[in-house]
C-alpha cells in the first residue's frame, strides 16, 4: 500500500473510529448496563406492554404523516428556489433554516399563538363565521404534532432537494423538449430521477427526526400522545434503566433497518450522471397567469405555516405579556456579562455550534467519500453510521457520554468539550447526507480530466471536488449548525451553569417569567443562524463560480 492510499484510508476511517469512541461505545455501555444488570423493567416486559405497543404505533404513524406533509409542502419550494429568479433569494433561502434552530418550547408558543384556540387563525375563522366560540384549534393533538413537525422539516426538504436540482444540467431538459417531451414527461423521466436521491435522503432524515421527536410531542400531545423517545425520557427520570435501554434499543433497531433499506434503495437508484452544471432559471414575468397564481398561493400557505410562528417569536422579543407593554430589556440582558446575563450563553452557543459544525463537515466529507460508489461493506457501514445518531435518543447519548467519557476523564467540573462532541454527533447525519448527495452529482469525467492534467489528490479535492460539493457542504453545514445551536436535550444533561447555551437560557428565562429576555434570545438565535448561513452562502458561491 503506498503512502497516498494509506493516507486516504486513514482519512476515510477516522470518522468511523471517532463515532465508535463517542457514539457506539457510550451508548452500548448504557444499554448493556440497563438491559443486563436487572434494574428496572425487563426487555420482554417492555415489549409486551400495551403502553409500549401503543406508543410504538403512534410514533410510526405520526412520523409517516409528518414526513408526507413536509415533503408535499417542501417540494414546490425547492423548485421555486432553484428555477425562479427573484430578488432577495439568498435571504429567503437562509430564512428557510430558521424553524430548525428554534428551541421546541419557542415553537410551541409560536404555534399556540398562530394555530391554537383563539390564536390568529382561529380569530380569523371566528370573524368569518361570526362564531363567538373557538372554531378551529390546530395546535393540539395529532394535527398540532404533525403541523409542528412539518414546520421543522419543510426547510430540510427544500434545501436538500434544491441543492441537488441546482446541479441538473439544463441541456438535458432542453434536448428532451426539442425531442417533443411534454412538461410532465420531462418531470417524470429527467427531473424526478435526478432529485430522487436527495428527496429520499431528506425524507429519511425527516422521518427519523420525527420518529425521535419528543419536546414537541410532549407539549402539543396534551399527555395523550407519546413517542418512544418521550418514554425513554420518562424511564430515565424514574431511574428505570431497564425500560429506558429496552426502548432505546428498539429505536436503534428501527433506525438501523431504515438506514439499511435507504442504503439499498440508494444503490439500486444509482445511474449515469449528467454533466455537472448550473440550473437554468426563469423570471416571474416569463410565467403565465395560472402559474403565477399557483406560486403565490403556495407562498401564502408557506408564509402562514412557517413565517407565522417566527413572527410570534419576533414580537415576543419586545412585548412583555405580564406588563402588557413593549420593552428592550431583553436585548439589554443579552449584552450583560454577569451571571444571569445573556452574553455567556451567546458566546457558548456560537463557540460550540461553530466548532461542532466544523467537525461535522470535516467528518461528513470522508463519510460521504467512503459511501460513494464502491459496493464494499465499509461503504454501507459508513452510510449507516452516518444515520445512526438520529436514531439514538439524545438523552441516552448524553447519559452514555457522562458515564463513559466525562466522569472517567475527570471532566465533570469542566465538561464543555463533550458538549461539542454531542453536538457534532447530532449534526453529523445532516452534513454527511447532504455532502454525499452532492458528491453523487459530480460528473466523473471532470475528475478524469483533472487526473489527466496531472492534479495531485489534494489538488483534485480542493480545486475540483470541494468547489463542486459547495452547495451540499453549505446545506450540510447550515443544518449541522442549526442542529447544534438548537440542541437542548443532551446539552441540558451534560452542561454546568457556565456551559449554558442560548437555547437552554431561553427555556430558563421562560421558567422565571422573563418573557422578553427569552424572546430576545430566540431572536438572536434566529439572526445568528441567518447571518451564519448567508456567510457560508457567500463564501461557497464565490468558490463554485470559479470552477464552473
Amino acid at each position: 500500500m503506498n503512502r497516498h492510499s494509506l493516507m486516504g484510508h486513514l482519512a476515510l476511517a477516522s470518522p468511523l473510529v471517532l463515532l465508535m469512541c463517542f457514539l457506539v461505545y457510550p451508548v452500548a455501555d448504557v444499554l448493556g448496563q440497563g438491559l443486563f444488570s436487572g434494574t428496572g423493567t425487563s426487555f420482554y416486559d417492555v415489549v409486551v406492554s400495551p403502553v409500549t405497543q401503543r406508543t410504538f404505533t403512534f410514533t410510526v404513524i405520526q412520523a409517516a404523516l409528518s414526513t408526507a406533509l413536509a415533503v408535499l409542502l417542501g417540494l414546490p419550494g425547492a423548485f421555486l428556489i432553484v428555477r425562479l429568479r427573484f430578488r432577495g433569494k439568498s435571504v429567503i433561502r437562509a430564512a428557510m433554516i430558521i424553524p430548525f434552530v428554534l428551541p421546541p418550547i419557542v415553537v410551541v408558543v409560536g404555534f399556540l399563538q398562530m394555530f391554537g384556540a383563539f390564536g390568529i387563525l382561529d380569530s380569523l375563522m371566528m370573524a368569518i363565521t361570526g362564531s363567538p366560540v373557538s372554531v378551529i384549534n390546530l395546535a393540539a393533538g395529532l394535527p398540532g404534532i404533525v403541523l409542528a413537525h412539518a414546520f421543522y422539516n419543510i426547510p430540510l426538504v427544500v434545501l436538500m432537494v434544491s441543492a441537488s436540482l441546482e446541479r441538473l444540467n439544463p441541456e438535458v431538459e432542453e434536448s428532451a423538449e426539442l425531442l417533443g417531451a411534454s412538461h410532465f414527461q420531462n418531470l417524470r423521466r429527467i427531473v424526478l430521477p435526478h432529485i430522487i436521491p436527495s428527496l429520499l435522503a431528506s425524507a429519511v432524515l425527516t422521518y427519523l427526526f420525527c420518529f425521535t421527536s419528543f419536546p414537541i410531542v410532549l407539549a402539543l400531545g396534551q399527555g395523550s400522545y407519546m413517542t418512544l423517545e418521550a418514554r425513554i425520557w420518562y424511564a430515565f427520570r424514574y431511574f428505570d434503566y431497564g425500560e429506558a435501554s429496552s426502548l432505546a434499543l428498539i429505536q436503534i433497531l428501527v433506525t438501523l433497518s431504515l438506514a439499511y433499506s435507504y442504503v439499498r434503495l440508494g444503490r439500486m437508484r444509482q445511474q449515469g450522471i449528467a454533466p455537472t452544471s448550473n440550473a437554468k432559471q426563469v423570471g416571474l414575468r416569463d410565467l403565465n397567469r395560472v402559474q403565477v397564481v399557483l406560486i403565490l398561493a403556495y407562498l401564502a400557505l408557506l408564509a402562514f405555516l412557517v413565517a407565522g410562528p417566527i413572527a410570534a417569536v419576533v414580537r415576543s422579543s419586545i412585548y412583555d405579556p405580564l406588563t402588557r407593554s413593549y420593552s428592550l430589556a431583553g436585548f439589554e440582558n443579552l449584552l450583560s456579562a454577569g451571571t444571569g446575563g445573556g452574553l455567556v450563553p451567546l458566546v457558548n452557543s456560537a463557540f460550540y455550534a461553530t466548532m461542532s459544525t466544523l467537525f461535522a463537515v470535516a467528518l461528513g466529507i470522508p463519510l460521504a467519500f467512503a459511501h460513494r460508489g464502491s459496493k464494499n461493506p465499509a461503504a454501507s457501514l459508513a452510510s449507516i453510521m452516518a444515520l445512526l445518531p438520529l436514531g439514538v435518543s439524545a438523552i441516552t447519548l448524553a447519559y452514555g457520554l457522562m458515564r463513559a467519557i466525562v466522569v472517567p476523564l475527570g471532566l465533570s467540573s469542566n465538561p464543555w468539550p463533550v458538549i461539542i462532541v454531542a453536538q457534532t454527533i447530532i449534526g453529523l447525519p445532516f452534513s454527511a447526507r447532504s455532502i454525499e448527495i452532492a458528491l453523487r452529482s459530480i460528473d466523473p469525467a471532470l475528475l478524469d480530466q483533472a487526473d489527466l492534467l496531472g492534479a495531485s489528490r489534494l489538488q483534485k479535492l480542493f480545486f475540483v471536488e470541494l468547489p463542486l460539493l459547495a452547495p451540499g457542504i453549505l446545506v450540510g453545514a447550515a443544518f449541522a449548525f442549526a442542529m447544534a445551536i438548537g440542541e437542548m436535550s443532551a446539552t441540558l444533561f451534560i452542561a454546568l451553569p457556565q456551559n449554558v447555551t442560548l437555547a437552554v437560557a431561553i427555556y430558563q428565562n421562560l421558567g422565571v417569567r422573563k418573557f422578553v429576555e427569552a424572546g430576545a434570545g430566540a431572536l438572536v438565535l434566529v439572526v445568528t443562524c441567518l447571518v451564519a448561513f448567508l456567510t457560508i452562502d457567500r463564501m461557497t458561491s464565490g468558490s463554485s463560480g470559479g470552477t464552473l
Binding site: 400495551p50 383563539f118 410532549l218 405580564l322 463557540f351 466522569v407 467540573s413 452542561a495 457556565q498
Partner: protein
C-alpha cells in the same frame, strides 16, 4: 477562455494550516476563558435550576445567604444550579457515583427520596440542630435522614381572577374534583405531566388521595373523565406560560404561594387566587417538602455536614420565603407580610397523612403506568 479568467489558486495546504491555526487559537482562548477559577478545594452544592431564583436580586443571593458560612470556615461555596430539576440532579449524581464532585445536594423532595436510586447517592446524616425543624416535616420527608427538610410548599389549584371568580363561578370557593370534571372546567385546566414534574406528580397524588382515601372511589375515574379536555404539559414553566397567555386557561396546578408572589411583585391585590380541593366541609392540599442531603463519598464530608447544619439556621432560612417562594422549615423564622395571601398549612388538611410513604413507594410506578394507559387510550 483566456487565462486571465481563471481565479487565483491558493495552496490547499495553506488553507488547511490557516484553518487549523484559527481553530486552535479559538479553542485555546475559550479554554482559558472557562477554566475553573478560585481555590481548588471548594464546597460544591448541586441543586436544580430555579433554586433561590425568585427574589429581588437572584444574582447576589448566594453570597448573601452563604457568605457568612464562607467567612466562618474560610472556604468557597459553589452553588451549582444544574439545568434540570431534582430528578435530573439525582441522575447526574448517579453518573458521578464513581468519582463524586459534589458534597451536598439540595432539592430532593418527599416523593423522590422514596426511590432507591436517590438513596444510593446519599449518606444519611442527622444535623446537630435538627430540633429547629418541626418533627412532622421530618416524618413527611425522610425519617431515615438521607435528607433533612430545607423548605416546603403546598401544591394546589390556582386560578386567574381576571378570567374566573366567585361571581361567575361560585364553585371556586369550594372546588371539588367533580366540579373540575365538567367539560367547561376541565378544558380550562392546565397541569404538569406527572412523569416530568414534581408539581404534576403532587397533583396526581392529591387526586389519588382524595378519591381512594376520602371518597373511597377508583382514582382512575376522574382522569378518564377529564382526559381529552385537560391540558397536560411537560413542566411548570410550560404550564405557567400557557396559563398566563391563553385566555381559555383559567386554572393551573402550582404552589399556594402564587398569590403572595403576585402581591409582592406587583405591589397590588393578587390577580391569582388559590382553590384548594374541597371535600365534606374541609379543604385539602398536598405538601411538598424539599430536603438537603450529604453526597455519598463526597470530597469534603466534614465541611458538608457543617454546611447542612448552617442551612437550617435563620441565616439561610430567613431568605427562603421571598427567594424560593416556599415556606422555611425553621419555625423561628417570621414570614413576610406578603405571605398573608399564601395558602397556609393551617388552612388545609395535609393529604400526605392519608398516603403513607410505604404506599407511595410501592405503587408509584403502577400509578404512573395506569395514568399512561388512561391518557394513551
Amino acid at each position: 477562455m483566456s487565462a486571465g479568467q481563471y481565479p487565483t489558486r491558493r495552496d490547499p495546504r495553506r488553507v488547511i494550516m490557516g484553518l487549523a491555526v484559527i481553530v486552535t487559537v479559538t479553542v485555546a482562548a475559550y479554554t482559558v476563558w472557562v477554566w475553573p477559577r478560585g481555590p481548588a478545594n471548594k464546597l460544591i452544592v448541586y441543586t436544580y435550576d430555579s433554586f433561590m431564583a425568585w427574589g429581588d436580586d437572584p444574582l447576589t443571593i448566594d453570597s448573601r445567604v452563604f457568605g457568612p458560612f464562607m467567612q466562618q470556615y474560610d472556604v468557597e461555596i459553589e452553588i451549582v444550579r444544574l439545568q434540570t430539576d431534582a430528578n435530573g440532579v439525582i441522575a447526574r449524581l448517579i453518573t458521578e457515583l464513581e468519582r463524586p464532585v459534589a458534597d451536598v445536594v439540595i432539592g430532593i423532595d418527599n416523593v423522590l427520596i422514596l426511590q432507591e436510586p436517590s438513596q444510593s447517592v446519599l449518606e444519611p446524616y442527622t444535623p446537630s440542630n435538627i430540633n429547629l425543624v418541626n418533627d412532622s416535616l421530618i416524618a413527611s420527608l425522610d425519617p431515615e435522614h438521607y435528607v433533612t427538610p430545607f423548605d416546603f410548599g403546598l401544591v394546589s389549584l390556582i386560578y386567574s381572577m381576571a378570567k374566573i371568580n366567585a361571581t361567575t363561578h361560585p364553585e371556586v370557593a369550594n372546588l371539588t374534583f367533580s366540579n373540575l370534571g365538567t367539560t367547561e372546567m376541565a378544558s380550562s385546566l392546565v397541569t404538569e405531566d406527572p412523569h416530568l414534574s414534581s408539581t404534576g406528580l403532587a397533583f396526581l397524588l392529591t387526586e389519588i388521595a382524595v378519591y381512594e382515601k376520602l371518597l373511597g372511589q377508583d382514582w382512575r375515574q376522574w382522569w378518564s373523565q377529564v382526559h381529552g379536555y385537560v391540558d397536560v404539559l411537560p413542566g411548570w414553566t410550560d404550564v405557567w406560560q400557557v396559563w398566563s397567555t391563553e385566555a381559555t386557561k383559567w386554572f393551573l396546578v402550582s404552589y399556594g404561594t402564587d398569590p403572595a408572589y403576585s402581591y409582592y411583585s406587583t405591589n397590588s391585590t393578587p390577580d391569582a387566587a388559590v382553590a384548594p380541593v374541597y371535600n365534606a366541609g374541609s379543604h385539602y392540599a398536598w405538601m411538598q417538602v424539599e430536603g438537603i442531603g450529604l453526597v455519598k463519598n463526597g470530597p469534603n464530608p466534614t465541611l458538608a455536614k457543617a454546611f447542612i447544619d448552617y442551612c437550617l439556621t435563620s441565616s439561610v432560612q430567613s431568605y427562603v420565603a421571598l427567594n424560593q417562594w416556599m415556606f422555611p422549615v425553621n419555625n423561628e423564622v417570621t414570614l413576610p407580610t406578603a405571605y398573608s395571601y399564601a395558602l397556609q398549612a393551617e388552612d388545609v388538611n395535609i393529604l400526605n397523612a392519608l398516603l403513607p410513604r410505604s404506599e407511595i413507594a410501592a405503587n408509584l410506578t403502577l400509578w404512573l403506568d395506569e395514568w399512561d394507559i388512561i391518557f394513551s387510550s
